[in-house]
């Protein structure tokens, strides 16, 4: 049902500003994910919207706790209790799936698009692999330590093979694979859930991601791999279902700097070869600059500023984006001290958030109107896609209206004004 992605073929190479003319592969609209904890309701992701086009790399950047990873997990429907996706739509372009769903779930279909939030759970799960797949931050903890790497890749392939064998049935994956079948398969060595073809393909994938001696490595356990090699294996695993959208959640954070570059190069090459779209989640603006076509800057569960790379890096409007840019070292001019953003990401507990700009407390350019009302997302200078959730989009900073703060705050304002 899903492997035939007719839609992606007639789409133009989606990079840069001309992507706006094509239909996106993924449209996320007003996605909200909340965690219901003992301390209160935490709005980890609040009304986030973005598009991902065919063959592009869309970056999401932000500090720890800004909601980047939860956004990714929400798209895959992997948010676990006490968290829940509470609102929003995730429109995925797939004409075949749209045809399948049109009669049974008309509310979830619009043209070639399907709202994955409104299809049954089984269908949503069947999208993991062939539609969305994910690379996790820490490869060492994201593989089962007691199963060989090859077997773990092969089962990801096998699940898609079985789904293709029964394209009309979204239940097909669990059919013929109940507990009884699993027990006989595990106890009788002659029988195996994973077919020989899938094992071969797993070795092929390991080859593709540049793991030498792939056949031998496939028989090894995760603890026998180095971090970089295991992250390559994870990339291979994510490719198993030939996904339309690959979500890379901090794919290089747990790795050595030298290995980071290799993994990024690998991802860029594969994205080119496989013609897939990538959502690159990172806290590292360097990764964004190197990899992405368009970027969204997340803060406190919202996208604070978005646009093309030029928009965000050369003409940032939101003081948070400016702060992020000032907090990375510039190799050409290492002399000035880095300017960290003071303070921490707010707790995101619903009752403490209020109708105001969430960044105002840390913002060197906060004014009275920032706490009066939550700023709407508005168009600003730059490309057509450059949008920002900040009052500064529409007016200049006026020091006389500055939000009263501490001594350091005012000093920081002064230096920021220079």
């Amino acid at each position: 049902m899903l492997e035939d992605r007719a839609g992606s073929e007639d789409a133009p190479d989606g990079s840069g500003a001309d992507t706006t003319t094509a239909d996106p592969i993924l449209e996320v609209r007003n996605l909200s994910t909340q965690f219901f904890t003992a301390e209160g309701q935490v709005n980890a992701v609040e009304s986030v919207s973005f598009d991902v086009y065919d063959g592009e790399i869309f970056g999401i950047v932000g500090e720890s706790g800004s909601g980047k990873s939860v956004t990714a997990l929400s798209i895959l429907d992997l948010v676990e209790s006490p968290g829940r996706v509470t609102a929003g739509e995730i429109w995925y372009r797939n004409p075949d799936l749209a045809d399948d769903m049109r009669d049974s779930h008309p509310e979830a279909v619009e043209g070639e698009y399907v709202d994955t939030r409104r299809v049954p759970t089984g269908v949503r799960r069947s999208l993991r692999g062939p539609t969305f797949s994910m690379i996790f931050q820490d490869p060492m903890s994201s593989f089962n330590p007691s199963i060989t790497v090859g077997e773990q890749l092969a089962e990801a392939i096998e699940v898609q093979r079985r789904a293709r064998a029964n394209p009309r049935s979204t239940r097909s994956r669990t059919q013929g694979y109940g507990l009884g079948r699993f027990l006989t398969d595990s106890l009788l060595p002659s029988r195996s859930y994973v077919s020989a073809e899938s094992r071969e393909r797993a070795t092929g994938l390991l080859d593709q991601v540049g793991i030498p001696d792939s056949a031998e490595r496939a028989a090894e356990y995760p603890n026998q791999f180095s971090g970089g090699m295991l992250q390559r294996a994870m990339v291979a695993q994510a490719l198993a279902g030939e996904p339309d959208v690959l979500i890379a959640d901090e794919p290089t954070t747990a790795l050595d700097v030298t290995i980071q570059a290799q993994i990024l190069d690998l991802l860029a090459d594969l994205q080119d070869e496989e013609d897939m779209s990538v959502i690159m989640i990172t806290h590292d603006l360097g990764v964004i600059a190197r990899m992405c076509d368009r970027v969204g800057v997340m803060y406190a569960g919202e996208i604070a500023e978005r646009g093309s790379l030029t928009d965000v890096f050369d003409r940032p409007v939101h003081p948070y984006t400016e702060g992020l840019l000032e907090s990375i070292p510039d190799p050409d001019d290492p002399a000035p001290r880095l300017q960290p953003i003071e303070g921490n990401v707010p707790s995101l507990i619903d009752s403490e958030m209020g109708n105001r700009c969430y960044f105002a407390d840390r913002c060197p350019k906060a004014m009275d109107e920032c706490v009066a009302e939550k700023p709407a997302e508005v168009d600003t200078a730059g490309s057509a896609e450059h949008r920002v959730r900040c009052v500064l989009a529409e007016r200049e900073y006026d020091p006389t209206r500055a939000l009263s703060g501490t001594e350091e705050d005012r000093e920081r304002e002064a230096s920021a004004d220079d």
């Binding site: 992997l78 069947s126 999208l127 797949s133 820490d138 603890n223 279902g241």
Partner: protein, 329 residues
């Protein structure tokens, strides 16, 4: 081969442990009150008779000679002679061993068959009625003393309902099985079941409760771990997520506890065996203590110690098999 060397190494370590056990067991006799001669000799025995008995038992020899004699005897399978019946102690001990092993193994099987599915159910239906039921069961099972449970089981199922036998062992599994094979009759097996069910339940309940808890908490840990999220992200069905991935890793600590508990079942089934008058090592230990029949007591303790060591070697080997991060060294 790494596995062979591992087993050999553990076996050598095991021999040292068993030697320690033998030494302690031997030493026990000299720090406990009571004189073997009084046990053997009639109350009105003359001092000459008592001297003769002491000579015969080697009690006049220096301690190290007695110790070396005992060690050498053990190496040849000689545990001495019972003070009471004057028969070979080893014959008595080994005659009781099958009954104890049988009870321990059946109790373990009962425990494993009930506890692991129950623990998984409890973890996957967390905070649902099934989970509350399983948690309540394991709390009750851990808190119930097994001698009381044994007596209650006898009262209800043997005395009132007359489904099972109150005490004794019946034909034993091997003879019941050979009856089935040679005569094609299941009567022996049924009779065996009617004897073993209650003691196995009494002995296995605590064990079942313990493993249920362990499986539940282990499964919860595993299901919340990062790799499970990654497995789900691959689109694997939930059955595979649970049984192929999470349960497999949960079993690593379960196997450890299982082995340790099987060891205690062999040695520690004393009370249950007494309640059901089960003709195993436990009842033998009790009767030999009350009779001060030292050779029997020492022999039983040595056999229990050896059993413990063997089970631990088996568990360590199995442990390394299920957890590839363990290297045989």
């Amino acid at each position: 081969m790494a596995l062979g060397r591992f087993v050999l190494k553990r076996a050598l370590q095991g021999i040292v442990v068993v030697w320690g056990v033998v030494t302690v067991v031997f030493g026990l006799r000299f720090i406990t009150p009571g004189n073997p001669i009084s046990v053997i000799a009639p109350l009105d025995a003359s001092p000459e008779t008592r001297q003769a008995i002491a000579r015969e038992l080697g009690l006049n020899d220096p301690l190290y000679v007695q110790y070396l004699d005992y060690l050498l005897g053990l190496l040849q399978g000689d545990m001495g002679y019972s003070y009471i019946s004057n028969t070979q102690a080893s014959a008595q001990v080994f005659a009781r061993l099958p009954a104890t092993l049988e009870l321990a193994v059946v109790a373990t099987i009962v425990a494993v068959v009930i506890s692991i599915p129950l623990g998984v159910l409890s973890a996957t239906r967390r905070n649902e009625p099934a989970d509350y039921g399983a948690t309540l069961f394991s709390l009750a099972g851990i808190s119930t003393p097994n001698f009381w449970l044994g007596i209650m089981l006898v009262l209800v199922f043997a005395v009132q309902l007359e489904i099972f036998k109150t005490s004794g062992r019946g034909p034993g599994f091997v003879s019941a099985l050979s009856m089935l094979v040679t005569q094609g009759s299941a009567a022996g097996l049924l009779s065996w079941l009617s004897y073993i069910t209650l003691p196995a339940l009494a002995l296995g309940t605590y064990f079942t409760a313990l493993i249920t808890r362990l499986t539940r908490s282990g499964m919860l840990d595993e299901l919340g771990s990062a790799y499970v999220k990654a497995v789900r992200a691959k689109g694997l069905p939930e059955t595979l997520v649970r049984y192929k991935h999470a349960l497999r890793n949960t079993l690593v600590p379960v196997i450890t506890v299982l082995g340790l508990q099987l060891g205690t079942l062999i040695g520690g089934a004393v009370i249950t065996e007494a309640v059901f008058d089960w003709p195993g090592l436990g009842t033998l230990v009790i009767t030999s203590i009350t009779a001060r029949d030292w050779p029997i007591l020492q022999g039983s303790l040595v056999v229990i110690g050896v059993g413990f060591v063997l089970i631990n070697i088996a568990v360590d080997t199995l442990y390394a098999y299920v957890n590839p991060q363990v290297v045989y060294e």
